[in-house]
């Protein structure tokens, strides 16, 4: 039973979409971390499929990929974690974050069969830009999976085209760059976000380098929410040993939840609503 990504995202608060890598440090921990994220107030979860060649990711998520691959995780096992999360009470949408190659290798039919069976709500492929994704977007629509599009400050002439066909939310790359924490955001990023905001019919989220609550407060003046990856993965990395230890795990989930909660802003009562 899938959630309704579109509906869930149209809540009256700033959205918080955290990223975790499936299988980091192992599958059981991933389920617990997902539940912790829901408790912390996540609007949806990006569930990362570990990949040998994650060229859109910085070193933190690369390491997570390697830990996960070393544990034997793969795209099929990762999707199969989602029903386990559901059984344990996860109700927020799950967006699969994967490079294109594992999807290709699985084949479109198998992939969507697994996506449906495992209640995957959305799909985000960082190396499948708009022009290459037409066919897969069609398939997503047929199978009720929301295809998340990305835009970057360099998208310029292509921005309208991408924004107008966006579903679920728009993932704005906060700067030139791969994922990873950074200290501050360029002034130009806000101009870019405003431009996207004006065009978009769906929520506009910012990702890449959002690593402090202050970032969130700053960015959400312009946009509808944030995606947080590396900052949380660093926490997973730090807690890695505990997360693998059945006795220490519960405490680790709580620590993680606390960290995640720091990115969640209280719901505002918007003027005029």
């Amino acid at each position: 039973m899938k959630t309704h990504l579109q509906n869930l995202l149209s809540q009256n608060k700033k959205l918080f979409v955290p990223f975790i890598t499936a299988g980091d440090p192992n599958g059981e921990a991933t389920v617990g971390l997902a539940l912790a994220l829901q408790k912390a107030g996540a609007s949806a979860i990006e569930l990362g499929i570990p990949y040998s060649d994650p060229l859109a990711d910085g070193p933190v998520i690369q390491r997570a990929s390697q830990r996960s691959l070393a544990e034997g995780m793969n795209i099929v096992k990762a999707m199969e974690l989602v029903p386990v999360m559901r059984e344990n009470g996860l109700t927020i949408p799950i967006i699969l974050f994967t490079y294109y190659n594992p999807v290709l290798q699985l084949g479109k039919e198998s992939f969507f069969a697994l996506a449906e069976k495992n209640t995957i709500d959305g799909l985000l492929i960082p190396d499948l830009p708009f022009e290459e994704s037409g066919d897969l977007r069609d398939s997503c629509r047929q199978h009720g999976v929301t295809f998340i599009s990305m835009v970057a400050p360099t998208s310029s002439g292509r921005l309208k085209k991408i924004v107008s066909s966006a579903e679920g939310f728009l993932y704005c790359v906060s700067s030139l760059g791969v994922t990873g924490s950074r200290k501050s955001f360029d002034k130009r990023i806000f101009d870019f976000l405003e431009e996207v905001k004006q065009e978009a019919d769906v929520p506009v989220l910012v990702g890449f380098g959002v690593s402090t609550r202050q970032h969130v407060e700053e960015l959400t003046k312009t946009c509808d929410g944030v995606v947080v990856g590396s900052a949380l993965i660093e926490e997973v990395e730090r807690l890695s040993q505990k997360l693998k230890d059945p006795d220490a795990r519960i405490a680790a989930f709580e620590e993680f939840q606390k960290k995640a909660a720091s990115f969640v802003l209280p719901a505002e009562v918007e003027i005029g609503s």
């Binding site: 060649d53 290798q105 970057a152 790359v173 760059g177």
Partner: protein, 401 residues
């Protein structure tokens, strides 16, 4: 941007606009006689083109079949065909107003070519190189530094070419505003495979003209080695519309029946690597696997998308050759013709010698001698004289019987 179903631009959104700009600049450039004249002038006055076409008389006679001609890309400045492309891209970088280039390298050949043109064109140069390769190829690392380039060791993944390429792309994503990414083979997102081919097609164009003026004929067969595949595409481009058999040769390493090979077309499956849809070596879950070849220039897990297409359509036949077969062919050429080829090239030689034997004496076979073997002497010493990882593979000069 497609060769049949292969190719494309499978890259982060951030790079789509830089790729579009690159494509536009490239298309403008190759249509601009001023640009192309400058490119050709540099090939001639700086890199020493045209490279010779050498009749391998002794080898041809010993094999008893086709007349074998060698297109001598080893005589280029820096010792391989890589410089043709590096010069073209450096000129393009200048034209686009970029002052900094980045490049990936495996054994260091493209890195050296990139560092070379960076010096010549006054560009800043960063070369990404896996830490494993940095350790194994300290001479090339030193050479790049001497040329003024910065060599950045890559510690991610398996710390080899594949990872260096990932890291170069990551760096480009973050710095695409003022950096030009100089890819060394016919791989990567569009327009790279097309651009690198156009900057390498001088190989085949020259060779064709040289054979015409020497024998007034087309070659019956053309053979080239394929890692990413730039020398092969450059050689084939001139003959693709002619009635000429084309053969690409991949590295079979310890054998395609083992896990230790780099035979992407023979053993790979469709997938995306470094921005391009092509054949690649991967596991059932789409994780890219590490290839193996004694030749550092052939152990790439992908292959240029145009090669994937040429294989699928059957226009080019792709064969594979083991480490041992390549070493035998290398020894044979050295002892018969006094030419020490790169181990990459030796793969093409091994297959070509086999094919030549089956051809008639009035037929001709042309091989792209993509690079010189000086860089490989350490590896060869390890292989032939023991003391290295290949000590159990003495190269029997199989061709001399």
């Amino acid at each position: 941007g497609r060769y049949g179903e292969f190719g494309g631009k499978y890259v982060p959104e951030t790079l789509m606009q830089p790729l579009a700009e690159l494509q536009e600049a490239f298309e403008e450039a190759i249509a601009d006689s001023g640009f192309m004249n400058e490119y050709r002038r540099l090939l001639s006055e700086y890199s020493g083109r045209p490279t010779a076409l050498t009749y391998a008389e002794n080898v041809s006679e010993k094999l008893g079949g086709a007349k074998i001609f060698l297109k001598r890309e080893d005589l280029n400045h820096t010792g391989a065909h890589k410089i043709n492309n590096a010069i073209g891209q450096a000129l393009l970088a200048k034209k686009m107003g970029k002052t900094k280039i980045i490049a990936e390298t495996g054994a260091g050949q493209h890195g050296v070519a990139a560092a070379t043109v960076a010096a010549k064109f006054g560009l800043e140069c960063k070369v990404f190189m896996g830490q494993e390769d940095v350790s194994r190829q300290e001479l090339n690392v030193f050479r790049m530094k001497l040329l003024g380039a910065e060599v950045i060791p890559v510690h991610s993944g398996n710390k080899t070419l594949k990872d260096a390429t990932n890291e170069a792309i990551r760096y480009w994503v973050q710095h695409c505003e003022d950096h030009f990414y100089m890819i060394g083979s016919v791989v990567g997102p569009h327009p790279y495979p097309q651009m690198v081919r156009e900057f390498q097609r001088v190989i085949g164009d020259e060779a064709k003209e040289q054979l015409q003026s020497r024998l007034n004929t087309l070659p019956d067969k053309v053979v080239a080695c394929v890692g990413g595949g730039s020398n092969a595409i450059g050689m084939f481009a001139a003959f693709i519309d002619e009635e000429v058999d084309l053969v690409g040769v991949e590295a079979a390493g310890k054998g395609t029946d083992t896990d230790l090979h780099a035979a992407t077309i023979a053993k790979g499956t469709k997938g995306v690597i470094h921005g391009s849809l092509t054949y690649l070596l991967q596991d059932e879950h789409g994780q890219i696997t590490e290839p193996y070849s004694i030749s550092a220039g052939l152990d790439y897990p992908g292959i240029g998308p145009e090669h994937a297409h040429l294989s699928l359509t059957g226009r080019v036949s792709y064969e594979s050759v083991t480490d041992d077969e390549a070493l035998s062919a290398l020894t044979f050429l050295a002892q018969e013709e006094g030419i020490l080829p790169a181990i990459e090239t030796a793969h093409a030689l091994a297959k070509a010698f086999d094919l030549a034997k089956q051809m008639k004496q009035d037929e001709t076979l042309m091989i792209c001698l993509s690079g010189r073997g000086d860089k490989d002497v350490h590896t060869l010493m390890d292989s032939f004289e023991g003391g290295g990882k290949h000590e159990d593979t003495p190269a029997e000069p199989a061709f001399t019987k």
